[in-house]
C-alpha cells in the first residue's frame, strides 16, 4: 500500500530535529536527530513511551516548545503549504498562525482540560474559525455547528452553546476533534486522543477519526503508545525510544516484521487472544467470599443524594489466583476493591476472609484494621500520589512493619525491607532516596514492596499499571505473576484495560453500573463471552489488525480548500 505517487512534494519534512531541555538538574536531550517525512493525506503513527520525545517533537512542529526547551541550530522543520515551502523555525509573530491552527492543528489527550472552562465550547470553535478564515460570526457559527454534526455530536445546536463540563467524556473528545478540524488543516496532530477514554468510547472515537480521514483527506500525525490503536489507522510508523527513532517504515512492516528489540517488546504487551492459558482443572477453594455486598457513599453535603456505588454482589475469589475485575469508569470496581480492605462504606452484605483466623467485614461493624492489614494490602493506581513525598523509600516500605509493630528492632526492619526490595527488583542502594527521584515504574515497585513487606496473603491491585508505559507494565505484570507463583499470593487485579487482564489473569469478573455482569476463567470470558456487554467490551479491544482485515487503501481526495 504505497502512497499515491502524484504527490511529489511531501507535506512536512523534519531533519535532524534535536531538542535540549534546561532543567535545574542539568541539561538533557529529549529528542536526538529525528528525521521524518509526511506526505499529504498520510497517517503517520508516532509510537513511544513517556519520555521518548514523541509529544515534544510534535509540539516543535507548532513551535509550542516550553520555555526551557531549545532547538539545536541544525534542526530543520519545513512545511509545504501547497504552494511553497515554509521554514517553520523562522516563523514569528502573526505568521505562526500558519502552523498553529492554520495548516496544522492538534488534538490533546485530555479534552476536559483543553477547553477553557468558562467559555462556551462553541465560542471557542467560532473564535478559531474567525481567526483563521476571517468569516463573520454567523457563518462561523454555522460552520461550527455543521462540524459538530459531522463528528457525530447529537443535538449539535444545543451542545454548541454548552460548557465543556456539561458534555460527556466521548462528546468532549468529539468536540475537541471538531475544534481541530474547524480550520481545515492539512496536518492534524493527535496526541494520545483515545488514551483517557473508556474502551467502548475509545473504539467510537477511533472509528470517527478513520471516517474523517477519509472525508477530509488531511495528513495525520498520530501519537500513541498503543500499537493496537495505531494498527487500525496508520499507514506508516515511527517508533521512538528515549528521543531516538529505533524503527520506522510501513505499518505492516513494523508491526508484522519488527526488526528492533524494543518494537518487539511493545508488541508483546498486546493481548494474545489466541494464546490464552487453559482454565485450571479445578477451581481452588475461595480465599475471600463476598456475599450480597452493597456499597453506598453517604451524601457529601446538604441537598445531595447518597451515592450507590455497588449493589448486591456475590463473588468468590479463588486462592492463589490472579482475579481480574474489569469495567468502565463508574462501574464500581474500585469501590469494590476498597471495600474488601475496609476503606469503603459497606451498606449491606459481608466480606469473609478465610485466613487462618477468619475475618469478616460487614455493614455497621467496625473494621479490625490491624489483623486485616496484616493479611490484605492495596497497590494503588497512581504511583505519584500514593507515596508520601516526604519519606525516604526505606521509610515508606517499612511503614506497615512499624505501624503494625511486627518487628522487634531496627535491624530486623532493615533486614525485611532489604529482602522485599530485592524481591521487587529495587536497587537497594537507592533506599535512602526520596520518591521524587524515581520514575513511575520504579515507584510502582516501591508501592508493591510496601504491600508485600508484611507478607500478606491477599493483594488488591487497583489499576496498578494504568499509569505506566507498556514496556514497564510488562515488567510489573511479570513481577505480579512471579509473586503468585512463588508466594501463593491471591491478587485482585482491577483494570479497565482488557489487554492487560487477558495477559495476566486466571479468572475474570466483569462489572457494569455497580453490578456483576459475568465471571469465569480468562478463556471463557475472552473467547466465549455470554453477555452482550462483555462482548462489546471485548470487541472494542484494540488488537493488532492483520493486513487483510485492514481498511482498504484510502482514496485520498484533496480537501475542498485547495
Amino acid at each position: 500500500m504505497s502512497l499515491p505517487e502524484m504527490f511529489s512534494e511531501p507535506l512536512l519534512e523534519i531533519r535532524d530535529l534535536s531538542i535540549d531541555f534546561h532543567t535545574p538538574e542539568g541539561h538533557h536531550r529529549a529528542v536526538d536527530g529525528l528525521n521524518l517525512n509526511l506526505q499529504p493525506g498520510e497517517v503517520m503513527g508516532l509510537v513511544g513511551e513517556s519520555g521518548s520525545g514523541k509529544s515534544i517533537s510534535a509540539k516543535s512542529i507548532m513551535r509550542m516548545l516550553p520555555s526551557n526547551a531549545e532547538l539545536t541550530p541544525q534542526s530543520r522543520i519545513r512545511l509545504h503549504t501547497g504552494k511553497h515551502w515554509v521554514n517553520v523555525n523562522a516563523l514569528h509573530g502573526r505568521d505562526l498562525r500558519l502552523v498553529r491552527g492554520g495548516q496544522v492543528s492538534m488534538i490533546f489527550q485530555e479534552p476536559m482540560a483543553s477547553f477553557a472552562p468558562a467559555i462556551r465550547v462553541g465560542d471557542q470553535v467560532v473564535e478559531t474559525i474567525q481567526l483563521h478564515t476571517g468569516a463573520d460570526y454567523a457563518s462561523a457559527r454555522r460552520q461550527g455547528i455543521e462540524l459538530f454534526d459531522r463528528v457525530g455530536i447529537r443535538q449539535p445546536e444545543k451542545r454548541f452553546d454548552q460548557y465543556v463540563f456539561e458534555l460527556s467524556g466521548g462528546m468532549r473528545q468529539r468536540a475537541m476533534i471538531a475544534l481541530a478540524l474547524s480550520t481545515r488543516p492539512r496536518l492534524l496532530i493527535a496526541d494520545e486522543p483515545t488514551t483517557a477514554l473508556d474502551v467502548t468510547v475509545q473504539a467510537q472515537v477511533l472509528e470517527l477519526m478513520l471516517e474523517l480521514r477519509e472525508q477530509f483527506g488531511m495528513a495525520m500525525l498520530f501519537i500513541t503508545h498503543d500499537l493496537g490503536v495505531i494498527s487500525r489507522i496508520a499507514d506508516n510508523l515511527t517508533v521512538m525510544q528515549q528521543g531516538r527513532v529505533v524503527e520506522s517504515g510501513s505499518c505492516n512492516k513494523v508491526l508484522f516484521a519488527p526488526e528492533h528489540d524494543y518494537t518487539r517488546r511493545l508488541l508483546d504487551a498486546l493481548p494474545q487472544l489466541d494464546n490464552l492459558p487453559p482454565a485450571p482443572a479445578k477451581t481452588p477453594a475461595p480465599l475471600v467470599s463476598i456475599r450480597d455486598l452493597s456499597i453506598r457513599y453517604p451524601a457529601s453535603g446538604p441537598g445531595q443524594q447518597p451515592f450507590q456505588a455497588v449493589s448486591g454482589i456475590d463473588l468468590d475469589l479463588p486462592a492463589g489466583q490472579i482475579i481480574g475485575l474489569v469495567g468502565e469508569s463508574g462501574s464500581g470496581k474500585t469501590s469494590l476493591g476498597k471495600a474488601l480492605l475496609g476503606a469503603a462504606p459497606i451498606s449491606q452484605g459481608e466480606v469473609c476472609y478465610r485466613f487462618d483466623s477468619p475475618l469478616t467485614l460487614s455493614a455497621g461493624r467496625r473494621v479490625r484494621r490491624k489483623p486485616l492489614a496484616r493479611m490484605a494490602q492495596l497497590v494503588f493506581q497512581d504511583p505519584y500520589s500514593s507515596l508520601n513525598p516526604r519519606m525516604t523509600v526505606r521509610d515508606i516500605i517499612a511503614e506497615p512493619l512499624l505501624a503494625l509493630g511486627l518487628c522487634r528492632n531496627k535491624a530486623e526492619v532493615d533486614q525485611r525491607v532489604l529482602e522485599v526490595a530485592r524481591r521487587c527488583h529495587l536497587d537497594v542502594t537507592h533506599l535512602r532516596r526520596f520518591p521524587h527521584a524515581f520514575s513511575g515504574g520504579q515507584r510502582q515497585r516501591i508501592s508493591i514492596a510496601r504491600a508485600l513487606v508484611v507478607n500478606p496473603r491477599f493483594i488488591v491491585a487497583d489499576e496498578a499499571v494504568a499509569a505506566l508505559d507498556v514496556s514497564i507494565q510488562a515488567d510489573i505484570l511479570a513481577l505480579l505473576k512471579s509473586l503468585r507463583d512463588e508466594m501463593g499470593l491471591t491478587i485482585l487485579f482491577i483494570s479497565h484495560d482488557l489487554s492487560v487482564v487477558a495477559n495476566l489473569c486466571d479468572h475474570v469478573c466483569v462489572m457494569q453500573h455497580g453490578q456483576l455482569v459475568e465471571q469465569g476463567s480468562v478463556r471463557d470470558i475472552f473467547l466465549n463471552p455470554q453477555q452482550a456487554y462483555t462482548r462489546t467490551l471485548i470487541g472494542a479491544i484494540p488488537t493488532l489488525q492483520p493486513p487483510a482485515e485492514r481498511a482498504l487503501p484510502v482514496a485520498i481526495e484533496v480537501s475542498p480548500r485547495a
Binding site: 507548532m62 509550542m64 520555555s67 531549545e70 532547538l71 539545536t72 541550530p73 534542526s75 523555525n89 523562522a90 514569528h92 505562526l96 498562525r97 498553529r100 491552527g101 492554520g102 492543528s105 492538534m106 490533546f108 485530555e110 482540560a113 483543553s114 477547553f115 477553557a116 472552562p117 468558562a118 467559555i119 471557542q124 473564535e127 478559531t128 481567526l131 483563521h132 460548557y163 463540563f165 456539561e166 475544534l179 480550520t183 457529601s300 453535603g301 446538604p302 441537598g303 445531595q304 443524594q305
Partner: protein, 396 residues
C-alpha cells in the same frame, strides 16, 4: 398599626425576602443556593453581633458611670448607690446575654444600633452619613488598588518565567536584541512595581500620611487634612448660583490623600494575589490548547488566563474591603478625618463608648458580609464554573 410597622420594618423586610427566596427555591436550584447563602449570611451576622457585643465588655466603664460622671461635672456629689440606681435604670445590671438579646432585637426589628453614651444620642444619629463617607473611602481605596494591581499583576505573571535575555540560537541577531530589550524592560518594570507596591506595605500608612502632610508643611502650602478646607466647610453643595464646582474641587483636593494612603498599602497584597491567580491559570492546559489554535498576544491573555482568574479575585472583594477598613482608623486620626473610622478610634480609645464602637464594627461586618453574599450570588449567576458546582447540589 403604623407605629407597629415603623417599629418592626426591618424584620418584615428580612423575613419577606427570606420567604420570597424560599418560595423560588422550591423550583430553582439557583434560588435554593441563594436562599441557603442568605440564611448563612444572617447566621454569621448574628454571630458577629454576639462577638462584637461581648468584646465591648472589656472596655472599662459603662454608660451609667459616664452619665453620672457627666452630672458630676455639673457640680453634684455622687455616691455609689446613685451609680447603681442609674445602672438598674438603664438595665446595665442584667446579664450580658440578656442585654445582647435586647440589642439584637432592636437591631433586627428596626435597625436601631443602640444609644451612644458619650454623644448622648442614638448611635444611628451619631453616625449620620459618616459611615457612608468611610465606606466611600474604602471603595475608592479598593478601586485604586485594583486599578494598579490588576494590570501590573498580569504583567508580573507574564514576565515571571521569562528569561532576561533572548538566547534562542535560531533567532536572527537583530531579533534577539529586540526581544532581549523587550524582556529586560518588562522585567525591570515588574521589579520596580513590586518594589513600589511593597513600599506601600512597608511604610506604615500613618507614617506615609504624616510624611505627605510634612511635605506640605515644609512647602508652606495648606495641608490637605480633613474633607474640606475652612473656606468651603460650611458652604452648601447647592448655592443660589447653582452647583458649587469650587466645593467639589476642594473636596477632590482633600480626599485623594486618604485614598492614596490606604490604597497604596492594599496594592501590594492585591498585586501578589493577582499575580498568583494569573500564573496559576496560565499554566493550565487550555491556555496551551488555545495557543495551539493560533490565538496569541493580548487576545490570548485577556480571554484565557485573565478572564478565568477574575472570578476568584472578584470573590475576595468583601475581605479586601475589610482589610482596607482595618487601616482606615489610624489614617483618619493622622489626617484628621471625621468619618466613622475616626469615630471608632474615639469611641474605643478615648471615650470608651461601647455601643457606638459595637455599632460601627457591626456595620463594617455587615458591609463585608453583604459584599460576600452579593459576590457569591453574582458569581453563581455569571460564572459557569461556579454555577455548575451550585447546580450539582447545595454546594457551599
Amino acid at each position: 398599626m403604623y407605629e407597629f410597622l415603623t417599629n418592626t420594618w426591618l424584620l418584615w423586610l428580612l423575613s419577606t425576602s427570606a420567604a420570597l427566596l424560599w418560595w423560588r427555591s422550591r423550583v430553582s436550584q439557583l434560588f435554593r443556593y441563594i436562599y441557603h447563602r442568605y440564611l448563612l449570611a444572617l447566621g454569621t451576622l448574628m454571630l458577629v453581633s454576639a462577638i462584637v457585643f461581648s468584646l465591648m465588655e472589656v472596655l472599662p466603664g459603662d454608660c451609667a458611670e459616664k452619665m453620672i460622671a457627666y452630672k458630676n461635672t455639673q457640680g453634684e456629689v455622687i455616691t455609689q448607690a446613685q451609680i447603681d440606681a442609674e445602672r438598674a435604670r438603664m438595665g446595665l445590671d442584667r446579664p450580658l446575654a440578656v442585654r445582647w438579646a435586647d440589642w439584637v432585637s432592636d437591631l433586627t426589628l428596626k435597625g436601631d444600633l443602640g444609644f451612644s453614651c458619650s454623644k448622648r444620642q442614638s448611635v444611628n444619629a451619631a453616625l449620620g452619613d459618616r459611615f457612608w463617607i468611610s465606606f466611600g473611602f474604602c471603595i475608592a481605596g479598593l478601586l485604586f488598588a485594583y486599578l494598579i494591581a490588576v494590570p501590573f499583576g498580569i504583567l508580573s505573571a507574564w514576565s515571571l518565567n521569562k528569561p532576561w535575555l533572548d538566547r534562542k540560537a535560531h533567532h536572527a541577531p537583530a531579533r534577539r536584541l529586540r526581544n532581549s530589550l523587550g524582556l529586560a524592560l518588562s522585567k525591570c518594570m515588574d521589579l520596580q512595581l513590586r518594589l513600589i507596591s511593597y513600599l506601600g506595605l512597608a511604610l506604615p500608612n500613618f507614617l506615609l500620611a504624616l510624611s505627605i502632610i510634612l511635605l506640605y508643611v515644609f512647602a508652606g502650602e495648606p495641608t490637605p487634612t480633613g474633607l474640606f478646607s475652612e473656606q468651603w466647610q460650611g458652604q452648601p453643595w447647592f448655592a443660589a448660583s447653582g452647583f458649587q464646582w469650587g466645593k467639589l474641587q476642594d473636596f477632590l483636593g482633600h480626599i485623594w490623600l486618604p485614598i492614596l494612603v490606604i490604597g497604596w498599602a492594599a496594592t501590594a497584597l492585591q498585586l501578589q494575589t493577582v499575580r498568583a491567580l494569573v500564573v496559576d491559570e496560565s499554566n493550565k492546559l487550555y491556555v496551551e490548547a488555545a495557543r495551539a489554535r493560533g490565538i496569541d498576544g493580548v487576545r490570548l491573555w485577556a480571554r484565557y488566563p485573565v478572564k478565568h482568574s477574575i472570578s476568584p479575585l472578584f470573590n475576595s472583594v468583601g475581605f479586601d474591603f475589610q482589610r482596607i477598613f482595618n487601616d482606615l482608623p489610624i489614617v483618619a486620626v493622622v489626617i484628621g478625618l471625621t468619618d466613622a473610622a475616626a469615630l471608632l478610634i474615639e469611641a474605643l480609645a478615648m471615650t470608651n463608648d461601647q455601643e457606638l464602637a459595637a455599632g460601627i464594627l457591626f456595620l463594617v461586618a455587615l458591609a463585608v458580609i453583604s459584599m460576600n453574599f452579593i459576590t457569591d450570588v453574582v458569581l453563581a449567576i455569571v460564572d459557569p464554573r461556579v454555577r455548575n458546582s451550585v447546580m450539582q447540589g447545595g454546594g457551599h
